[in-house]
Amino acid sequence: MSEQTQHPDIIRPYGDTTGDGMVQVSFTLPMAPGPKAEGAALQLATKMGLDPAMVVHATGLGGGESAYTFFVVYGRAGHLVDLGEVVVREREYPLLAAKEANLAIKATLRRKLIVLGACIGTDAHTVGIDAILNVKGFAGEKGLEYYREMKVSNLGAQVTVPELVSQARKDRADAVLVSQVVTQRDAHLRNTRELAAAFREAMGDHRPLIVVGGPRFDPRMAEELGVDRIFGRGTTPGEVASYLVHALANKELLRAC
């Protein structure tokens, strides 16, 4: 902490001393508690790169003769984190205030920016998309409905992909914003892929911008999933508005060339 490290880009987890590498892990193994189970837990910890590792807690789950053991393990992770290699989805556009965003839309689009929002599939979690779209907004920022130069419609929950595609076509949407909160068995990934494929098929290159969001998304997966952008947990409306302005302005420019 007090000494400058040699490679400021190489760091390790910090327990109570620089470089100690300390990490906490918990997991369940499908086997009865006992020395063998603890050995198995240590084997896993070792494979995860913890050395030394201490099993500090082990307990059978579910009462009675348990076939599952829960462990808490502490250990020193041998891995180095190389900050030089950290892949961040950096914001490549400036954060605009609502006013600035409106001005920019006027300047580049010369008409209102049309936004269509929905939760697709069987997902009924609307609070996230509402936080982005509703005037009320999120974390002190007003939602997109508040932006004078945007025309926002929010289709709500449980919209099917075909419904969404046809609505987007009807509204001539510039951007389609989709929320996915349920992730069990990777439902969000599956649904997003289906979404991207449907728009590609229906509209090809003339498809609107596709923006997806939800708390368990990894923003770096946009390309892989075939969408333009992914927003993760804690996203604010301003970030989304700024992105839309930036991306659509670029699109206009490209079209103009």
């Binding site: 918990s26 997991f27 369940t28 307990t59 789950l61 579910g62 009462g63 009675g64 348990s66 076939a67 599952y68 829960f70 599939g121 069987t122 997902d123 009924a124 609307t126 609070v127 709500g156 929950a157 449980q158 349920v182 992730t183 069990q184 068995r185 439902a187 708390p215 368990r216 947990r233």
Partner: protein, 540 residues
């Protein structure tokens, strides 16, 4: 024969004073607000109500010949009846008329014939109608008898194994999506202390206008509610009840497009509680309001008959609305749920009215506000086994904080005499619960109840203190809102976003096309039987 096993804390004595005038007004306003909706429900039926009649009469299974083989026979038959003669007089008359005309003994034979296109339905009149009615009555009575037998079995098993030794009953969710993973998890949870096991449904199911069939292994964030899954899980819990010497209850979800049918299957497979809210489907699944109010009424009659405790869904409002600002909407909804439930024949001990610990934990005094709200419900519904729901909205990925919050939630449950305690999970914001999450959560409950449960002796909110004042304040707001609702009409209030700040117009939402206005001569032998046993005739 009918005992009333109930998780209401029997030793509950009032510890705050509610303004008696406000309490009286609240209740009478709720009855007035619900009346028009009850009439609406009485005058209509739905495809699912009619399918439930066939299920009571024993028609089960799905048509293997079309699609994924998952369209149930009851859907096939009801759709055919509707297409050919309409459902305005119910499904019973045309079906049992056809049974006689075509000479079938077994509904399944009829169903196969219907699918093969060899049956033409007719509406019987006169003696034919009476014969059809009688045959239908016999058939559905068999189903009701099975429900009655299940109720008696439950009473017997509760007597034999015993009820949970203390209140609140500990309620745990399993939700793997795979019934064969759910079963050992549920058994493990029971062994670890759960008194009630709820199997969460797959996300999509409440919008399916049919009930899937068989044992299922591929749900998303939940397991399909099917008759076979019900049976498998109930059998597994009977096994573990015996092992533990404590009757472990089973719960599932009725609300949704198939509320009447799922309620029926629950009765047929001896489930013990059901999630059943008069408005949940409307608000959180965008199901048409009329459809929901009709369906909930039938489903609750079945629950009443089956001795099933319903759990209402007011907790959900606080996930979209603010738990302090909109606390009174919970109270209003509880009063409405009570009114609808009474009308459908449910007794007070069957009313697991919902409420939740959803106040922003960063708000100063948030814990005491929770106590005030929980006490309000407790004093307003002294005989109901209230269901106390854990924090969800303000749970984050900080699982340590989550575990702490759940502990304080448990403490409120203990201090305010809640009947059913839904166990909170530290991973609420992350995943559907891991096996270890449930175990940790149960340890949390046990610690709080054992170590601090007796604190009720020392918990004495003073007259006119923060807690009593807050309870009366929310009650007053509830009365104000009920006044507005009686003026405007409940359906308009729902359309305006009164509950859970979600707007649901009366003619929108899913399933409206499944609503049918009854015609003269509408015949639903199941309803007739149930009403008669309740000592009243079907009023329409």
């Amino acid at each position: 024969m009918r005992t009333h096993p109930t998780p209401t804390a029997s030793a509950w004595h009032p510890i705050i004073q509610l303004d008696k005038r406000l309490v009286g007004r609240a209740r009478s306003l709720a009855i007035r607000a619900a009346a028009p909706v009850i009439s609406l429900a009485q005058e209509r039926t739905t495809v699912s109500v009619e399918r439930a009649v066939l299920r009571l009469a024993g028609l089960r299974g799905a048509d293997p010949t079309t699609g994924d083989g998952d369209i149930p026979w009851v859907n096939r038959v009801v759709d055919a009846v509707r297409a050919q003669v309409g459902l305005e007089r119910g499904v019973a008359q045309p079906v049992w008329h056809a049974m006689r005309v075509y000479g079938y003994d077994d509904l399944l034979d009829l169903a196969e014939a219907v699918t093969a296109g060899t049956v033409e339905f007719e509406l019987p009149f006169g003696a034919a109608a009476t014969r059809a009615h009688n045959a239908a009555t016999r058939a559905t009575r068999a189903g009701l008898r099975r429900i009655d037998r299940n109720r008696a079995t439950r009473d017997r098993l509760v007597n034999k194994h015993g009820d949970p030794p203390r209140r609140p009953w500990v309620y745990l969710i399993v939700a793997t999506g795979d019934i064969y993973e759910d079963i050992p998890q549920a058994q493990a949870a029971a062994r670890a202390g759960a008194d009630v096991i709820a199997v969460i449904r797959s996300t999509g199911q409440s919008l399916l206008d049919f009930v899937p069939e068989g044992a299922t292994r591929q749900g998303y964030a939940g397991t399909y509610a099917t008759q076979e899954n019900f049976r498998l899980m109930r059998a597994a819990l009977d096994e573990v009840s015996k092992e533990l010497g404590r009757y472990v209850r089973l719960t599932n979800y009725a609300s949704g497009l198939c509320m009447p049918e799922i309620a029926t299957l629950a009765g047929l497979e001896r489930l013990d509680m059901m999630l059943n809210d008069s408005m949940y489907g409307i608000l959180f699944r965008d199901i048409n309001p009329q459809r929901t109010f009709i369906d909930q009424r039938f489903s609750r009659m079945i629950h009443a008959r089956a001795g099933i405790i319903i759990n209402t869904g007011e907790d959900n409002y606080l996930t979209t609305a603010d738990a302090v600002d909109d606390a009174h909407t919970v109270t209003v909804s509880q009063l409405l749920n009570e009114t609808f439930a009474h009308e459908a024949g449910l007794a007070n001990w069957q009313l697991g009215l919902g409420h939740a610990f959803e106040i922003n934990p960063d708000l100063p005094e948030s814990f005491r506000l929770e106590l005030a709200h929980a006490l309000l419900a407790r004093h307003l519904f002294p005989e109901a086994p209230l269901k106390w729901m854990p924090p969800t909205k303000h749970m984050t990925g900080d699982i340590f904080r989550g575990y702490l919050l759940d502990g304080f939630f448990n403490l409120v449950g203990a201090l305010t005499g809640q009947g059913i305690l839904l166990v909170g999970m530290m991973t609420e914001a992350v995943v559907t619960p891991f096996l270890s999450d449930r175990d940790l959560a149960l340890r949390n409950v046990r610690y709080v109840l054992d170590a601090a449960g007796g604190l009720t002796e020392d918990f004495r909110p003073p007259r006119g203190g923060f807690i009593e004042n807050r309870a009366n304040e929310v009650l007053a707001e509830a009365v104000g809102l009920l006044q507005r609702i009686t003026d405007e009409g409940l359906l308009n209030a729902i359309a305006d976003g009164t509950f859970g700040i979600t707007k649901r117009p009366v003619d929108r939402g899913k399933g409206l096309d499944g609503v049918i206005v009854k015609a003269d001569g509408y015949d639903n032998p199941a309803v007739t039987l149930m009403e008669a046993d309740l000592g009243r005739g079907e009023s329409s």
